[in-house]
Amino acid sequence: MPILKKYFIRYKISFIFIFIFLFFQVLCDLKLPDCTAGIINTIVKDKINFNFVFKNSINMLFMAITSGIASISSILISTRVACKIVKDLRVEIFEKIISFNSCELDKFGTSSLITRCTNDTNQIQNFLIMSSRMLFYAPMMAIGGIIMSSKHAKDMFWIIFLSCLVIFITIVINLFFTLPKFKLIQKLSDKINLILRENLSGLLVVRSFSKEFHEKNRFDKINKEITKMTLFVNRIMTSIMPFMFLIMNITTVSVIYVSAKNIIEDKFEIGNMLAFIQYSTQVLISFLLLSFVISILPGAIISFKRVLEILETKNIILDPIKPITNNLENFESIEFKNVSFKYEKEDKLILDNINFDVELDKITAIVGQTGSGKTTIIKLLMRFYDVNSGEILINKINIKKIKQSNLREQIGYASQKTVLFSGKIIENLKYGNDSASQKEIDDACKVSQVLNFINNSKDKFDFLISKDANNLSGGQKQRLSIARAIIKKPKILIFDDSFSALDFKTDSKIRKELKKIKNTAILIISQRISNIIDADKIIFLEKGKVAGIGTHKELLRTCKEYFKMVNSQTNNVKIL
């Protein structure tokens, strides 16, 4: 666990202080029974010495208070460190996930990443808060207790040893049964999370089919399963403690049994027996504390492993060591050269030997059926995935030789599924370009036909977009995301099916305005011929292959499949 080590080193001074304070606490806690034993022995022997008793009592009071102060100080430091470590860890995970590209993200799934970043880190925090002190305190106490008790009676040491052994074995057996179940419980709670998320996203569908009952049952099935597992684990976990108390009590009984003989035979004093009983209890209690930490360890380890899995995932797409930077300012072209690509989980190529290029100040369109690989092309161009073979060139440089951020800087992207962040409209618009002037923003909003909407709304640019942009219509969201892409002033503007929620009037207005944007290459992805009929170049995709390239007119002549598709749309579609 090199990550733990890293945090340990980062906060080593705090840990040293925790250790020092706990050391003092243990010293004081251990000295107390010793003082009592001394007093009792003097009393029993009838050698009453008030001075001795008084001195010892003052000593004891002093130690009790010192122990308290030391323990509070150690708690202060340890809770802070525990929370700080988890705070750092959370940032580290978050940064790592943000650094992922789609290819790494696919491995985990979004909802799993969310639980790992929230639930699992909480589990770790709870564990650290409890264990950061206990892991120091308990062993020190155990060792100290053993040393002190052997001072009073060496030959009874085997009783403590035996009891510790029994405790140890119990814990091991317990872990053996519960650990696998803990894993299962975690999986089931992921599943519950998934069902709830699905129910949230499919709210209207579930209601419209009146499938509330069905969904309740689906949830109920998992709920039953997780209840069964938790019950099993809880039964074991709650039986452990009483069993531990039994061991402690039986230890005391055995100590008295063995010492009785010794005392009668005058080998041993009564005060020593009482001290020994107290030390043995302290040793066993510290063993119990350790076992408690160990018992919550499985849950924490599982959470920790799930977090570690994220941190240890190697980013597949890396920046080059010596990136080329100078050649991007004057954009000339994008070129796809013999590009082939396959998603890891699928068997067949989604893109098969793709060749085409995109030029400055021209509108290039990619059309094709659903699943023909249109969006995949864009994901490859933005390097969310890397090509399996072939090259993607920007200004004749392979995009793998450019820094990712540098590459994406050139691109303004409006996605298929429109994404806006909760917050003000202006914040969303300036998302790609913080220093955009009001005029630039106004212009972009004019292009995307959203300026009227903004100016008519109550708070204008300060209009608050709610979570998941529920207070905007699909068309408003799309127009805002188009404006956002334009405001970024990129060299390449990509519209990935981002006109789908717009009515024709708005759609055609936007496209007319887009033509006026200079110094930019525009890439439109669409299923609809009417969206791209006037593009300078149309790339027609069929089943992952380029079936034809040219203008609309050229393709109508040269590409049969394109002709068919155009026909299917214009050949007067009846209803719908």
């Binding site: 208070i65 789609s102 909480n122 976990m237 009785a260 699943g371 298929q416 962040f421 719908l576």
Partner: protein, 603 residues
């Protein structure tokens, strides 16, 4: 009807922790008799184990008395006696163990049942809440209530509940026993209890505040994480990783501040009660020596007393630990009950009407008004009559209220004023599920769940055979692509349905509508994600499906609705034009402009 508007307002957060705990206790009342039994078991087990030191003290007393009056003849007898006492003590400890294991098993059983019930209730509630609740609250926050907060309560019930019973019993039985040993000593010990209680009370007051804050920041950070992970592609493509991380760090720091303080205060209780217990210990020692000298107590009694004083701190610690568990639980249960107490969708009336499935459905909107927020009317004085089997197209600019009309018709929202009638009866008079079953919806945002394709398609109906499903997929043109998949109909749609394309998703949604085969079809931009090639085929199939059905078609693309019987042109929530395509073109008004604009770029 105005009532419904108020339902959706966010209720102010009542910081009533006591109330939340009481509500939680309400969940426990079904298990009253079991709890009583557990209480008896816990008491018995505890009394037995607290008797232990008292019994053992007899052995010490014998030892010391023997020792003090050296009498070698008695030694053998007293050794026998000591052994007897020790065996008794061992038996008592064993009995105590058995009872306590039995008790903890019963408690585990009850607590798991309660958590099960709580989850079930939350889930039931989820499906009864009005749609506007989900519009007004962030999904991350709702999710956090349903998972994190329930988990907190689970922890308390399953682990800390046993402690609370045993700890309380221990304190009581120990108090009684120390009084039987020596009243004077007992008073010295008990004197400290109110002092420590006061300290504990003061600390918990502080902790409470920070726990609520911590729980809220947890909710915030969860929302943030969810939003950012789901919008990952946009963050990357806009190079805003640094900005996102900065925002995250800010919330994270707040969370850190509150969580360390609340955790510090709550773990303060143990050392403080330990110091108090140590001080009691010292006083007890000093006073005992005095009493021993005065021969008022024996050394064995002192030993027993010390062991009680020592173990006194343990249940007190547990109780104080429980106090802060209760705080966490109260904070969590407050959030849960706030959710559980939300107003539900208006209930179906008791003597509801039934739809006659043979009867054709005639829909009428009468002076309907509706608004999402106070500021702006979404639908204004809408009047509309639709005959059975009519194909109605609704067109208009985005945000004009097209989809809202459909949502009102299906009672996802209740209208502010006016009436919506089906066969001349107000839709409020029907059962909601009956009403909604009249409709099949295919929306722009397709929805699939994590399950096989077969399960997804057969979703609307329980008893569909494979043949019906195949027919539906053939009709919706989904059959071809499904057959090309490795596992065909058994292909599992993964989380977030990322393993099939947007168009394929929509094909499955349309197939689902075929399976549902409802009387009224709503197509809300249904084909906007499907390529024309497939769309043409789908249109043929939908045409077939639409015969004898009333259809509502919401579309931006006017070419797709030219043949509708009735075209409604909506702007700002009002119908500004209606008629068929030819009439509207002749009118040369809004529709005419809209229609021509789509060809403008072709010219």
């Amino acid at each position: 009807m105005m009532m419904n508007r108020h339902k959706c307002k966010k209720t102010a957060r009542a910081k009533n922790l006591k109330g939340s705990i009481l509500k939680l206790l309400n969940y426990l009342k079904f298990y009253k008799s079991s709890f009583l039994f557990v209480l008896i078991l816990a008491t018995a087990s505890n009394i037995l184990s607290t008797l232990g030191p008292k019994i053992l003290s007899k052995a010490t007393n014998i030892l010391t008395s023997e020792f003090l009056n050296q009498n070698s003849k008695k030694i053998n007898i007293s050794l026998l006696e000591i052994n007897k006492i020790l065996i008794n003590a061992a038996i008592i400890y064993f009995l105590s163990l058995l009872l306590s294991i039995l008790q903890s098993n019963i408690i585990s059983d009850i607590s798991s049942k309660i958590i099960y019930k709580l989850r079930e209730d939350i889930n039931r509630k989820f499906h009864c809440l009005p749609i506007c609740y989900f519009d007004n609250n962030s999904h991350g926050d709702i999710l956090s209530r349903m998972t994190n907060d329930v988990e907190t309560i689970n922890q308390t019930l399953s682990q800390n509940f046993i402690q609370i019973t045993t700890a309380v019993v221990s304190i009581i039985s120990m108090t009684i026993i120390i009084f039987t040993i020596n009243i004077k000593l007992a008073f010295v010990t008990i004197f400290i209890v109110p002092i420590s209680s006061l300290i504990i009370f003061l600390i918990t007051k502080q902790t409470q505040k920070y726990f609520v804050k911590q729980q809220n920041y947890l909710g915030n950070i969860n929302s943030k994480i969810q939003e950012d992970f789901e919008n990952h592609v946009i963050i990357k493509s806009y190079n805003s990783e640094t900005k996102t991380i900065k925002e995250f760090t800010k919330i994270n720091n707040e969370l850190y501040k509150n969580s360390w303080i609340s955790n510090f205060f709550s773990s303060l209780l143990i050392p403080i009660s330990q110091v108090i217990s140590n001080i009691i210990y010292v006083f007890v020692c000093i006073y005992s020596f005095y009493l021993i000298l005065k021969k008022e107590i024996l050394i064995g009694d002192f030993q027993a007393f010390i062991s009680y004083v020592r173990s006194f701190s343990q249940p007190v610690n547990q109780v104080s630990n429980i106090v802060n568990m209760i705080q966490q639980t109260a904070a969590a249960s407050e959030r849960i009950f706030e959710f559980l107490e939300q107003n539900e969708e208006s209930k179906d009336i008791k003597d509801n009407l039934f739809f006659n499935s043979d009867l054709k459905k005639y829909i009428e909107f009468k002076n309907v008004n509706f608004s999402y927020s106070k500021n702006k009317k979404t639908i204004e004085n809408l009047n509309l009559k639709i005959k059975s089997g009519q194909k109605v197209a609704i067109v208009g600019p985005t945000g004009s209220g097209k989809t809202t009309i459909m949502k009102l018709l299906m009672r996802f929202y209740d209208i502010d004023s006016g009436e919506i009638l089906i066969n001349k009866k107000n839709i409020l008079l029907y059962k909601k599920s009956d009403l909604r079953n009249l409709f099949s919806m295919v929306m722009q945002d397709s929805w699939l769940f994590n399950g096989t394709i077969l399960e997804n398609i057969s979703y609307p109906k329980r008893n569909v055979n494979l043949q019906q499903i195949k027919k539906a997929t053939i009709d919706s043109q989904a059959h071809d692509f499904i057959n090309k998949l490795k596992n065909k109909y058994q292909t599992i749609i993964n989380e977030d349905s990322e393993n099939i394309s947007a168009g394929q998703k929509q094909l499955l949604n349309i197939a689902r509508a075929f399976v549902a085969n409802s009387e009224i079809l709503i197509l809300d931009e249904a084909t906007s994600n499907i390529d024309n090639y497939t769309e043409k085929l789908i249109q043929k199939a939908i045409n077939k499906l639409m015969t004898n059905k009333t259809c509502f078609i919401i579309a931006h693309r006017l070419s797709t609705i030219e043949n509708a019987d009735l075209i409604l042109v909506i702007n700002d929530g009002k119908i500004i034009e209606q008629g068929n395509h030819k009439q509207l073109i002749k009118n040369k008004k809004f529709y005419f402009d809209l229609y021509n604009s789509q060809f403008s770029s072709n010219n």
